[in-house]
Symmetry: C2
Subunit: 189 residues, 2 copies
DNA sequence: TATTCTAACTAACAAGCGTTAGTTTTGTTA
DNA sequence: TAACAAAACTAACGCTTGTTAGTTAGAATA
């Protein structure tokens, strides 16, 4: 309802718990206990468990959509676009690490219009990425491998980045960007 | 207890449901309904929900461990080893697609020794992969990028393969192997 | 035919779930 | 200090959960 600090705190704590155990394994009582209050008190700030999940996921999903639109609007080569996408993913991952777990693993527990919206954003995001790759192949910048394999390979790496970033204490962002662009585009040989 | 067909059927149905909704979101009644029996009847064949999860995850985790040990035992170049690992991942993914969802997303819901065992197998797997990459860098076969980024990039792609294989109707395995080896090793330019 | 085994069933349990209603505490403003 | 709003509380609701106990139908074995 409001934009209170307490509401943001709930969403932040819930993100952390969802990241650790998954949406279905975290109860309202778990969230409340982590904040040293009772479960019923949460309802002074949010309308229910579903709303918490929606807010977490929709915020980060929108960030990706906006980021991809910015990349597509630029008049640059396909390779340059892919570099931008990689850098955008890294930036969002660093700032929204725990929300990415929900986006990746718990999107199917959204309901109603929120579920539809997230699925649609995801499809459009992949379609935009696919177009960039095809553009690059057509222009001769990218090797004519199965574009689906290229798309899948890069996107899998980017989507799983949050896990690695959590595991091995926060690599330096600029080094990470440089190395990932290099590995994903030029390969490892 | 026994090696009955009915038990395997339960595990197969459970794998499918866990793959769709996640371990915590699937109830024993869901599994039973999908088999046209009552939840209590499941207990004639298995000891509980935890056992179902353990059997699903441990089987596929062991397959990876055995596969990796075979690769490491070979006296071939690092690049050849990585090719073998990629091909192994694709083979296991095709034959155990739904179990991979549980291994990736629900391993943290294991309990006791099973949890420890899976975590340990995962760590050892990654350590073996890391060694192969370092060997390749040392031998000059692999570019001296941060080995951690190379490891993470390839492993992320392989671990997420089951999702893409499910989404776009089963790509041809041999073409997939060829293209993935090419993209992951030689890059996309 | 009588017996044993398998695999289903019904009924119930204690515990935990998300959520609501109504009340009390707390801190700020008039 | 009195009044008010914010945010906590207690208590309870109906429902679902994993699981157990005891029973029954049907097939295989003696």
């Amino acid at each position: 309802m409001k934009n209170s600090t307490r509401k943001e705190e709930i969403i932040s704590v819930a993100s952390r718990l969802f990241n650790e155990k998954g949406f279905q394994a975290v109860s309202m009582r778990d969230i409340a206990t982590a904040m040293n209050i009772k479960a019923a008190s949460l309802y002074n700030h949010i309308s229910g468990k579903q709303q918490i999940l929606s807010e977490i996921i929709l915020e980060v999903a929108k960030a990706f959509t906006i980021g991809m639109e910015k990349v597509c609007a630029k008049d640059i080569s396909a390779i340059e676009k892919i570099k931008m996408v990689i850098e955008m993913h890294i930036a969002i991952t660093v700032s929204h690490s725990e929300a990415l777990a929900a986006l990746n693993n718990d999107w199917m527990h959204l309901e109603g219009p929120d579920l539809n919206a997230v699925v649609k954003m995801r499809e459009e995001y992949e379609e935009n990425f696919r177009s960039i790759i095809k553009q690059g192949i057509h222009a001769g910048e990218i090797s004519p491998n199965h574009p689906e394999v290229i798309l899948f390979s890069i996107l899998s790496t980017l989507r799983t980045l949050y896990l690695w970033n959590q595991k091995r204490g926060k690599l330096d962002v600029n080094i990470l960007k440089k190395d990932m662009v290099s590995v994903l585009i030029k390969g490892i040989v």
